[in-house]
């Protein structure tokens, strides 16, 4: 317990800067002013975000509800949150809890000094909810695949939400805790499996990010080296030209031309020998290969009650057709609108050719609307 070594640190004049490990990370990434801790607590982020990218909540009108001190007199004021979700400034915490567990001045719940964490969200209810959900998520981590059908999965989700709600709003806490315990006992194995799976996934993700970062660095390095080499070569070639002009007897133009040709040869040779850096396309393909395959169930085509004369003709792949010659020969697709397919045009023409072929014309002066005799055929 590193705190013990620093107890009374402020008395001895040894103030501890906030969050020693992660402070440089914070100042590097955020622009909000960072509070400096005056006490010995060493927490770096209330919601325990492992990557250290969340910053603490900060507002100019913060005021400790216990001692009513604010930032005006006390710029290094830091309000921490108890496990019963009440705020207090660090000096009050020290004052009240240094000598052991004591009741919370607001709700009289007995707390220890360790039970205080910095605040991440403006609204304490949100803070509580996040903490509760985080805890529940660790226990109730079943996925859709663990259930037979959607119904049971939804029932499970509803139960989880119910428990969460009870915990957040202090409803039937004892009963709810019992339920959690029961669930844990029943599904211990499955929970374990799922948590391991999640860990692996997080791990894999991190590794991938690492790889990417390294590759990016590699490429940047290579590029820089390339540029260096080019510059050097240019300088040397220039110097050569000058030397040759000095020493040789040939005409100046010829000398320059010869040296230029040599420079060209050298650069082309270099480009073929450089390590082939992995192109972006290759990276994408590799990534796609790693990702899971999503199954594509066959879709049900549109069904309606219209008879489209499909049995009266069969469409072929190719027709000797002068109308669509230009479009079909157009390789670059300049003529075609998006989604145009010649087969669809042919299909439409064929359908037109057989539509209503046997429809008798209307007879006489006042005919009933004539319709082809519809015969209802049983299976």
């Amino acid at each position: 317990m590193s705190n013990r070594a620093n107890v009374g640190g402020w008395l001895k004049g040894k103030t501890v800067r906030k969050g020693g490990i992660t402070s440089n990370v914070h100042t590097a990434r955020s622009s909000t002013p960072q509070v400096q801790s005056t006490s010995s607590t060493l927490f770096s982020g209330g919601v325990k975000d492992a990557s250290g990218r969340t910053t603490e909540y900060f507002s100019m009108d913060d005021q400790c509800p216990v001692c009513k001190s604010d930032r005006y007199l006390n710029p290094k004021l830091r309000l921490l949150v108890s496990s019963c979700y009440h705020k207090m400034c660090e000096s009050c915490i020290d004052r009240l809890f240094t000598l052991g567990p004591a009741p919370c001045p607001i709700c009289q719940k007995v707390l220890r000094k360790l039970a205080f964490t910095p605040q991440t969200f403006e609204d304490l209810t949100v803070e509580k909810e996040v903490a509760v959900r985080r805890r529940i998520a660790k226990e109730f981590n079943k996925r859709r695949e663990d259930f037979f059908d959607l119904r049971s999965y939804n029932d499970y989700l509803e139960e989880v939400e119910d428990i969460t709600f009870n915990l957040i709003n202090d409803v039937n806490i004892a009963q709810t805790e019992a339920r959690i315990l029961a669930h844990r006992r029943e599904n211990a194995a499955l929970i374990e499996l799922n948590s391991q799976r999640e860990e692996q996934y997080a791990q894999a993700l991190k590794e991938q990010e690492e790889l990417e970062r390294q590759e990016k660095e590699q490429r940047a390095l290579e590029l820089r080296r390339e540029q260096e080499i080019e510059r050097e070569e240019r300088e040397t070639s220039q110097r050569e030209i000058i030397d040759r002009l000095e020493t040789s007897t040939k005409s100046a133009a010829k000398v320059i031309a010869k040296s230029r040709a040599e420079a060209m040869k050298r650069s082309s040779a270099r480009s073929t020998t450089t390590t082939v850096l992995r192109s972006n396309a290759q990276l994408l393909r590799a990534r796609a290969a790693q990702s899971t395959v999503i199954p594509d169930p066959p879709h049900v085509p549109l069904q309606d009650d219209w008879y489209a004369y499909e049995d009266l003709y069969t469409i072929r792949d190719q027709y000797d057709d002068m109308y669509s010659d230009a479009v079909r020969k157009d390789r670059e697709g300049i003529m075609r609108a998006g989604g145009y397919r010649v087969e669809e045009a042919w299909d439409r023409a064929l359908r037109c050719a057989v539509a209503g072929l046997d429809l008798l014309p209307l007879p006489g002066l006042n005919p009933l609307p004539a319709r082809t005799d519809s015969i209802v055929t049983p299976a």
């Binding site: 072929r316 037109c352 050719a353 057989v354 539509a355 209503g356 008798l360 002066l365 082809t372 055929t377």
Partner: protein
Amino acid sequence: MAADNAAKEADPQANSLTVKRPLYEGSTQYKSWRYSPEQLEQIRTSLNVAAVSVIRNTFEADEPGSSEDVLFLNANEEQLLVKLYITKIPQLCGHFRFPEEVEATAISYLKRFYLKNTVMDWHPKNVMLTTLFLATKTTNNPISLESYTSNIPKTSSSDVLDLEFLVSQSLNFEFAVWHAHRALWGIWLDLQSLPDVSEDLRPQDVYDIAIKHVRASRFTDAELIYTPSQIALASLALASPVLAERWADSKAVAGAAQPFSATLDPTLGSIKYIITQMGHPPDVEAVREVDRRLKLCKNPEKVPGSKAYLARQVAEQQRAEEKRNKKAEDVRRAVTEGGNPFGSELNEDEKAKQLAELDDDD
């Protein structure tokens, strides 16, 4: 044969008997623009008679006795005039290089328009321009109004636009038309699937002759009586009877009483007759005569600037005025007679209770 196939089971699993309607019967062309020759004649004559009586009355209202000498057009003469303007559409389309779809659609629109209106009310010249413009839009080959009117001499944009709504209304906003030239193309493609028809049996000139017949059929009433596939088959039969017969027979269903081509013969026969007899442009002299007479018997109400037109305008304005006054009266009454012009006040308690019942979240 299609009759047997027209009824099919939709879902064998459900074991239900559903009748499937053929696709063509869902089109507006089948539902509202299909007539028998007798019906066409009746429509045209009744339209003509009604129009003549209306115009006669308008003449009488202007100056009693003036309508005695005026020789009104009869239905056939109207037909003749419309036919002339139908023949002008292909010329225009050639000038603009519109695709054949536009041409066919515009001709259809013109024919259908004059089944609902008379020539004496609306002269076909501007109606023709409007139908062509409308056809370019509905077939997805639009051009701007400016480029349209600038390419046709002595036309302004108002000539085209003024009639557009009237034309659309007369078409009952049913703009999709099935054409015979597409059916002919389909037949031509399908001929290549016939096993016994080799390439030299279907030379390109057969197709050219057939499409010429299709274009001729557009000058006739064929599309108002028969289906586009029948017209296309008839045109092919005129070009090459052998091919038409072979193709039609291939479409027959097994076990039919006679080869399919035989069942179709009467229909095809009448179409062939129509195409050959009436599928050519009308005699220009006769049309000119009709046009001359039209100038005299035009409906004066539609001619801007004439007495009847102005009188009509005045009548319309009066009606609009009356309507406005009535509305103002209603409003005034609602405001001054007390009561609540905006309705009575809400019952607060009830509302609150209702809201409380509804509120079930959070």
